[in-house]
């Protein structure tokens, strides 16, 4: 991964290519978003509803609910979650200089999973007032707190005298993940049948629970993280040369690490909290784009946000029509789509990737 190509002409070409890709991806996202609004188990057509609204005609309550309370929040949630996961993946891979890095490495996923499992299994033991106040937000809130808590612990472990060791963080993440897995195992043992089914479904992810209220709580964090990400681009490009080299060309390495980790924890924590465990987006999207337009983070991060959003919306459309009126967990769709594509890329580009 070289950020600055010695061949200026080729680099220029590449930048142009990356920009054209951005425009193309934006168009793809718009198309897929239109699909997301128009397709679904119910036959509601957004254009008819819109025409009726503009003409001041009465719109059936069921159609209004399908469009404005189900499809629209779902679409917005899918776009934000997809973009967050893909950008987080790209940032992690840049930060760890490892193509296999994903947001799970900073402990977000393990902690969020433990939080969610605790809320599902131990929900009955919470003080009644707290349980009533949280309602069905108990699981997302617990997942978010769990994700943040484990990231902060990991960051604390890996930081000594104001310097964060990426290697320590990686190893600490493995240890913390094992610990969270063990605690989750205890809770799984305590869980009853219905809770076990809930746990399984949570782990497979879904956008079906998207409501405006959940979106209002999670969107600011994801949006903030997405806005912060492009500011990391130059630093991540420099980091590709190695930490010492990056420091010597004037990149504030420690601040970069801190901001990158907080960005990833914020985006992924919020995304996992509202949608459960959705795999593959964080790994497949950045890889696809690196192969298509190169490793320059200035374009990679923006394109990852667009492609991640488009892919997740597409996966959600598939999830909800494939066995309609029932619905597949979206994690199954992303894995079924993402796994083979990823393998195919690996096989075709074995030499180039040189893993």
């Amino acid at each position: 991964m070289v950020a600055i190509s010695p061949d200026t002409a080729a680099a220029w070409d590449r930048a142009g290519h990356a920009r054209r890709t951005t425009v193309l991806l934006a168009l793809v996202l718009l198309t897929v978003a239109a699909c997301g609004l128009t397709t679904g188990a119910a036959g509601t057509s957004p254009w008819t509803v819109l025409a009726d609204l503009l003409a001041g005609r009465e719109v059936a309550l069921a159609d209004r609910v399908v469009l404005f309370e189900i499809r629209l929040p779902r679409l917005a949630m899918g776009a934000l979650v997809g973009a967050s996961l893909a950008v987080s993946g790209a940032v992690m891979q840049g930060l760890f200089r490892n193509p296999l890095a994903d947001p799970g490495l900073v402990g977000v996923s393990a902690g969020a999973g433990l939080g969610a499992i605790s809320a599902i299994v131990l929900g009955g033991f919470w003080p009644a007032g707290l349980a009533a106040a949280l309602g069905y937000y108990a699981v997302p809130v617990a997942a978010f707190l769990g994700g943040w808590a484990s990231t902060l612990v990991l960051y604390g472990i890996a930081t000594r005298r104001g310097r964060t060791s990426v290697a320590t963080m990686l190893l600490g993440g493995i240890a913390l993940g094992a610990l969270a897995g063990a605690l989750s195992g205890i809770l799984v043992y305590m869980a009853d049948d219905a809770q076990l089914r809930d746990l399984t479904f949570w782990g497979l992810g879904s956008l079906a629970g998207a409501t405006w209220a959940k979106l209002a709580a999670a969107a600011p964090l994801m949006a903030l993280a997405l806005l912060c990400a492009p500011m990391l681009a130059r630093g991540l490009n420099g980091l590709a040369l190695g930490e010492a080299a990056a420091f010597h060309i004037g990149i504030p390495v420690q601040r970069l690490k801190t901001v990158a980790i907080l960005t990833v924890a914020g985006a992924t924590g919020a995304a996992v909290a509202v949608s459960g465990g959705i795999g593959f987006i964080g790994i497949v999207v950045p890889h696809l784009l690196r192969l298509a337009t190169g490793p320059d983070h200035r374009y990679l991060l923006v394109n990852a946000a667009l492609l991640g959003a488009a892919l997740l919306i597409l996966a959600d459309v598939i999830a909800r029509i494939v066995i309609a009126p029932a619905e597949l967990p979206i994690g199954i769709v992303t894995a079924v789509l993402g796994g083979p594509v990823f393998l195919w890329i690996l096989l075709r580009r074995r030499g180039v990737l040189d893993l």
Binding site: L61, V66, I70, D193, F201, P325
Partner: protein, 274 residues
């Protein structure tokens, strides 16, 4: 506040003309059909598999993971759901779409069956048919449990599955525990609640005289594999080859067929014990 108000309205308002009903839960669907109102169903959940005719209806998925748009797509005017159907987000959206969502209480004894029937009949607006069905089912249950009480009282262990050699057994407060009691048996596993994996030693100590399992449609017969399991092999049940398999929904559904299931099970327990 508004939500609570809406819920009250929904619960208080009798569903008079509901004739596009989505039924969620195997026993709930059976009760609707037993009340002679099966024509009014337009969709069902995955667990609603009896009578076979309901399998023709669209399947809206697993009861605890209903998709709001999927449910709305069958254009229902009432959802009739067993206790625990959800998730709550979906229930809220359905209420927002002004579709009554009626929860039917669950339970694992005689009165719970009658309460389910009454709740379904009330929601369908046919309380008289409900009272008649409840009287029939109640009488049949009393007869079946009375007969079972005079029969043998063996120690029964309900084995949910034997995944990877680990035995998942039913403890207290489960449907399996309920049906074993009604059929005159004694649950051999009383140390815990719910379905949990048992260690081999605990299986030996529980010393069941009969093993009870669900018969899975299309799956291979597990009886030899279960009876030759190292822990079960030492129990009186294995020595006598006393293994009973019954259809899951029939055995554990606690619906209109439960009296017959109690009779079948107690007969099987008597045969197995002799």
């Amino acid at each position: 506040m508004i939500r609570a108000l809406l819920a009250t309205l929904v619960l208080a308002g009798p569903a008079l003309a509901a004739d596009r009903i989505v039924s969620v839960g195997g026993a709930v669907t059976e009760i609707v059909v037993a009340l002679g109102e099966g024509e009014r169903l337009v969709a069902r959940d995955t667990t609603s598999t009896f009578p076979p005719a309901v399998r023709e209806l669209p399947d809206i998925g697993y009861a605890r993971r209903l998709s709001p748009e999927g449910v709305l797509s069958v254009d229902p005017d009432m959802i009739l759901a067993e206790d625990g159907a959800g998730p709550p987000e979906t229930v809220d959206l359905l209420r927002a779409a002004a579709i009554p969502f009626v929860e039917v209480p669950d339970g694992h004894d005689r009165n719970a069956v009658l309460a389910k029937i009454a709740a379904v009949a009330a929601a369908l607006g046919v309380p008289d048919k409900g009272a008649a069905l409840a009287a029939d089912v109640g009488a049949a249950l009393d007869a079946a449990t009375g007969q079972a009480a005079r029969g043998p009282h063996p120690r029964v262990m309900f084995v949910m599955s034997v995944q990877g050699g680990r035995i998942l057994a039913a403890g207290r407060n489960t449907a399996a525990d309920g049906i074993i009691r009604l059929a005159g048996g004694e649950n051999a596993v009383a140390e815990f609640e719910g379905y949990k994996p048992l260690t081999d030693e605990a299986v030996t100590r529980a010393a069941p005289e009969v093993i009870l399992m669900m018969a899975r449609e299309g799956a291979e017969d597990m009886s030899d594999q279960v009876l030759s399991h190292p822990a079960i092999r030492t129990t009186p049940a294995a020595v006598a080859r006393a293994l009973v398999q019954m259809d899951g929904l029939y055995l554990l559904g606690f619906g209109p067929r439960t009296a017959q299931a109690v009779r079948d099970l107690s007969d099987a327990l008597a045969r197995a014990g002799s």
